[in-house]
Symmetry: C2
Subunit: 271 residues, 2 copies
Amino acid sequence: HGRGIALMNQKGGVGKTTTAVNLAAGIARLGRSTLLIDLDPQAHATLHLGVEAGARGGSPGAYELLLDPSIGVGAASVEARERLRLVPAQTDLAAIESELVSAPDRLTRLRAALAAVPEPERAEFMIIDCPPSLGTLTLNALAAVREVMVPMQAQFLALQGLGKLMETVSIVGRGANPQLHVTGVILCNHDAGTTHAREVVADLDAFFEQARSTDRPWRAARVYRPGVRRNVKLAEAPSFGRTIYEYAPGCPGAADYEALARAIVAEWDAL
Amino acid sequence: HGRGIALMNQKGGVGKTTTAVNLAAGIARLGRSTLLIDLDPQAHATLHLGVEAGARGGSPGAYELLLDPSIGVGAASVEARERLRLVPAQTDLAAIESELVSAPDRLTRLRAALAAVPEPERAEFMIIDCPPSLGTLTLNALAAVREVMVPMQAQFLALQGLGKLMETVSIVGRGANPQLHVTGVILCNHDAGTTHAREVVADLDAFFEQARSTDRPWRAARVYRPGVRRNVKLAEAPSFGRTIYEYAPGCPGAADYEALARAIVAEWDAL
Ligand SMILES: Nc1ncnc2c1ncn2[C@@H]1O[C@H](COP(=O)(O)OP(=O)(O)OP(=O)(O)O)[C@@H](O)[C@H]1O
Ligand SMILES: Nc1ncnc2c1ncn2[C@@H]1O[C@H](COP(=O)(O)OP(=O)(O)OP(=O)(O)O)[C@@H](O)[C@H]1O
Ligand SMILES: [Mg+2]
Ligand SMILES: [Mg+2]
């Protein structure tokens, strides 16, 4: 139906949330309807957009939606910006793993909720901000999308976690979601000038190249170029509850995420 | 006995491992016996030092030590550098939470192992590298030391997790370990030139100032100054299995971690 992307990386602090918010907002600003789902109990994407992280008894969000998909995505989301709806997260989400532990469909709750959205109400683009883990929340995201994109920093220790990430995608791809594949890596906080970053990117390129003639779910994946440069404006914007376009329109961070949004939309329109 | 420090922060990618390795190595290079314990299933500290992350059936490490403290810290550690012993981690550690779930002493396993070390064999300084979580492994670290230091980046979203971190320290401090306190924050990947960083540091200063006349376990805490500057050499060193002093002796990263090591030793000697 639409283009659904899970921004996933079990490593912390790599740029998932910064990318989720500014990519989703960037796509919405290009005139395309977008749904952003905050699946992280830290609720940083929710905070970043200046939306209240849900309190128990308040308006429903990701927690309520996973506990009872029948309440509907519409009821569990708010209009965060023009053409951008947000399913907010809340700290209660941390309890989801234990609360759903005996539910046979605990990994496809989000998929069920999205499947129930009437066609006219569906957003064209969907972005899911995952927590830094490979647990129930991330697995719900992986079952609910066709695509995975991996925000990461071009650093040696960041490469170490990739194997486990790809293995998780493979498991879901062989089981609950045969359509699932890795579309690419988004280089965040990128310092293209250093030899180290270039070497890590070369490693990534080679890793994807080797998969080209296989049946691995990353066989068509690539590193998106250029990366998103390090720009302190991107770290400041969340403290004002603003997207980078609202906070510092001309800055490198805004330019880089707008370029990424254009690329994501252009790829989709080309199909 | 000695100075025991847990480097803790449930937020990922903030500099725990980079600090653990280079601080421990820095202290050892000042002539002081040091024990570094890698409690992270990612085993990045172990990798950083060029030591094999333990394979099942190989020489014992943190996993075996937590499963059976009686094997002894000596048997579960290797001489990683002169005056620096390392208890290596291994991916098996990820299973510790479930394997110990019904053990009544599951949170004091590490403390028991350290208490059993004969006086002459004890290191003067001990550093524990914690995983990015507040689970069984981190709680074992908190029960085994007197001091917590929090590596973090001076960014808005990094401040959001501090409340939960402090609450966890309080809980352990009221329960298993009354001596536990937060000594300070170590600013990693620090960009002292930006207004944003200065504002976040000012927030941290104020947070600790407000606790001064209370009985909170961070009432004597402070932000260590100066921070550790961003320096790509620090990200490159682990890919060679080297400390920063071996990899790039003159660089800013080496200077900053050496200065921190000197400060940590000087504080101890002043008591
Ligand atoms: N390109 C960039 N330039 C400067 N700062 C950045 C950039 N990208 C992200 N940051 C900052 O780095 C920190 C980590 O980024 P972010 O929160 O997006 O990572 P994350 O992967 O979502 O983390 P978590 O695993 O905790 O969810 C944040 O403080 C963010 O503001
Ligand atoms: N001062 C610095 N300058 C440049 N790079 C740094 C600096 N400190 C840390 N890094 C790099 O940032 C990344 C994250 O650092 P590190 O692994 O020490 O964080 P961590 O808190 O231990 O992460 P985790 O939560 O995954 O254990 C690593 O690739 C590391 O090499
Ligand atoms: Mg995030
Ligand atoms: Mg680490």
